[in-house]
């Protein structure tokens, strides 16, 4: 246990302060629906030209389920997810077809009828926050870039960046493990590895609040991996500020094998684990950005600013 004064001196951001001094001031409530509803996010991103997993179609009412074939065309791989879902709930990932059956990423096969039933459930709000009627999004299934293969167990690793006033301040990659059941969720056992903003190299990871150097399943070192298209990724994150108007924003990006960095979702209340993953407190960085009298308009300049202020290299 450390004393509060020590934590303050080391620049660790606590939940009360995050909520009181940052989120309540820099995030206006009226912009929340844009990030809570994945469909709205996608539509906004498309208009702004921000790369996202391709949207194949949306099912909004029961009637449209009949036209599922038109939406799916001949695609063998796709993902069905609820527009207002939370966490990783209600997501069905299809990896292939076998005649009239669909094969899930886990290997189990589902019939056409079961698929329709699933979509029907999504529409009725079973997986949405608050149980409200929802829409089903059908989108491109991300093929994770091979760069993290050695330190990830199934699932898709994602890179979360905190963007404050449009300037990227910190970043980490979340690596699924067997314990986390292939989910990139730190609470459930995924590894969080900080990323140096200037170079895009990973540093040591943290697993359940403890530092670790090697992935528990593969034994490979977590540190020192270079994230491909790093500058592009940071720029995507910076441009997300213009898109969402949220001053304290969490941007989740996945690296696709063919398409590069794609924005998966936004978070208006990003957590504090990024401090553990980077073994560094957020306060100093946030204060530096807060003190800036003017922030550049262009996303590229903001990325440069972030790299210059907060990069280790």
């Amino acid at each position: 246990m450390r004393s509060p004064a020590t934590l303050r001196r080391l620049g660790i951001l606590g939940m009360n302060q995050r909520n009181g001094d940052y989120i309540s001031i820099y995030n206006q409530r009226r912009f929340y629906p844009l990030v809570d509803d994945k469909l709205k996010t996608k539509q906004l991103a498309l208009e702004a030209g921000i790369a996202i997993p391709e949207l194949y179609g949306v099912i909004e009412i029961e009637h449209q389920i009949r036209n599922l074939d038109d939406v799916l065309a001949d695609r063998r791989e796709f993902v069905i997810k609820p527009a207002q879902g939370s966490g990783g709930n209600g997501i069905m990932v299809i990896g292939g077809r076998h005649g009239s059956q669909f094969v899930r990423s886990s290997g189990a096969s589902v019939s056409r009828a079961e698929l329709e039933h699933f979509i029907s459930n999504v529409l009725s709000g079973m997986y949405s926050l608050g149980g409200l009627p929802d829409k089903a999004i059908i989108e491109y299934r991300v093929q994770p870039h091979a760069v993290f293969d050695a330190v990830s167990y199934q699932g898709v690793p994602d890179i979360r960046t905190i963007v404050f006033r449009g300037v990227p301040v910190a970043s980490m990659v979340r690596l699924p493990t067997r314990q986390s059941d292939g989910k990139a969720n730190l609470h459930q056992g995924a590894i969080g590895a900080g990323i140096d903003l200037a170079s895009g190299h990973t540093v040591d990871g943290v697993w359940f609040n403890n530092v670790l150097a090697a992935h528990p399943d593969s034994g490979n070192a977590v540190r020192g991996i270079q994230v491909p298209d790093w500058d592009l990724l940071l720029e995507l994150a910076a441009r997300s500020y213009d898109l969402t108007q949220l001053g304290y924003l969490g941007v989740d990006v996945v690296l696709d094998r063919t398409h590069g960095p794609l924005v998966l979702e936004y978070n208006a209340r990003p957590g504090l684990n990024i401090q553990l993953a980077n073994q560094m407190g957020l306060l100093n960085r946030l204060e530096k950005v807060r003190a800036l009298t003017s922030i550049p308009d262009s996303a590229a300049k903001r990325v440069e600013l972030g790299k210059r202020l907060f990069g280790d290299a």
């Binding site: 450390r2 302060q17 009181g20 966490g87 459930n121 149980g131 459930q188 530092v211 553990l276």
Partner: protein, 507 residues
Amino acid sequence: MKVLALLLVITAVGVCYYKVSRLGVPLAPDESTEVWTVEATLTFDGIGQSAKAALAIPSVPPGFTVLDESFVSSGFGLATEDEGANRVARWAARDLRGKQTLYYRVVLNEDGNNNRDRETPVPIYPDIPEYSAPERAAVFALLENVRSRSADTGSFAQEMLRRFNDPTPDSEVKVLRDDTARPLEQVHKLQYVLAGARIPTRIAYVLPLAEGLRHGSLRPWLEVYNGERWLAFNPITADQGFARDVLVWHVGALPLVALDGAENADVDFSATRASRDVMGLAQQRARLLNSDILEYSLLSLPIATQNTYKVLLTVPLGALVVVVLRNFIGFRTFGTFMPVLIALAFRETELIWGCILFTLLVALGLIVRFYLERLKLLLVPRLASMLTIVILLMAFVSIISHRLGMEHGLSIALFPMVILAMTIERMSIVWDEAGPKDAILSGLGSLAVAAVGFLVMTHPLMEYLAFVFPELLLLVLAFTLLAGRYTGYRVSELWRFRSAARAIARR
């Protein structure tokens, strides 16, 4: 916003202070205080003509609050009036024959706050008396001695009394003191001596109170004027101030009783003491002071409503506990005020059994819920099914525990089923989304907060204060407002970030 909080605090403390100090509302439940009932019986003989009798009665006696006063004197006309520092009751009647008895009764409450020295009436400074030759020498020697060992009038008088009452007196005192004299004469002598220093004095006739006092009589005490106020002294022990069990009846030259047209006056004193509940006295006092503040309090509501409010007013305390445990310590709970509702439910079941029952029912409910999950129901029908099943489960637990001879299972009767159903639902969602560890942690957190909340809300002192001084809830409000701006760390974070802190410190 700090101004708002400050205003709330001032209002709360102010109203509370007024109630406690002016009206004497007790700060703790079941306080009682001593109430004296003192009676003076005046007897005299009528001689066949119109007669008037005047009896001195207490006037704002120091150290007491007069609660009630009554006279028994049928056949007489009665009037009371102030005379200087005293009050007098005057009776009058025509053609009185034979023995007459008149009663005066006063009910008093010991009130330490009222023990202030009186400032009026302002006396004239006495001239130095014409002492005889031997007296003169002794008096001035004594006065000089005392003056050199004192700093002001008060200490002068005290030193004088001490010397005067010394069992082995100085030679000057021996000359002046007459050991065979009655107490009153001795005090007169003291006045005579003090006049040599031109110190104004008067005699305060006091009644020493004792339980079961009968045929008591007044004693003389000495009051000395120091230029601003009258200081009282026990003429024998030289202690300053009227003692707790001494009632000042009248002061100065006014006689205790004066008769006109009658003979043989005699006054007898008696006293008894009883305990009275302080709350009732406060209400009585409020009425005497024409203060409406207690009339507008919750105490004027019908009893059934009062009992409801006794519970309701403790809920803010429960909310305060939630604020402190969540935002300052870092407990995790389901819902913001679910723990408060659970704590209210514990009122039926007591704490230990409440926790056991709660855990049992939630565990059973979770098992059922996971089965329901496989049925893939929509949200609202799922909740309704959960509620029905929970109630059936509760009935089941009651029956089983009754057959096993454990009576506690029966007190579940009013355990809030809705809260249980909601808790089970929230817990299973968290279980699905974030894993069993998170779900169990939040569940235990809710239970712990509910337990602490329960202990606070049912503490007898808290229940009493919240009901009798509801303005103190403004203090709770001020605190929660201020807590809304608390951006410091939670205790749980001090632990959670220890590895990051270590790493940064190393660098």
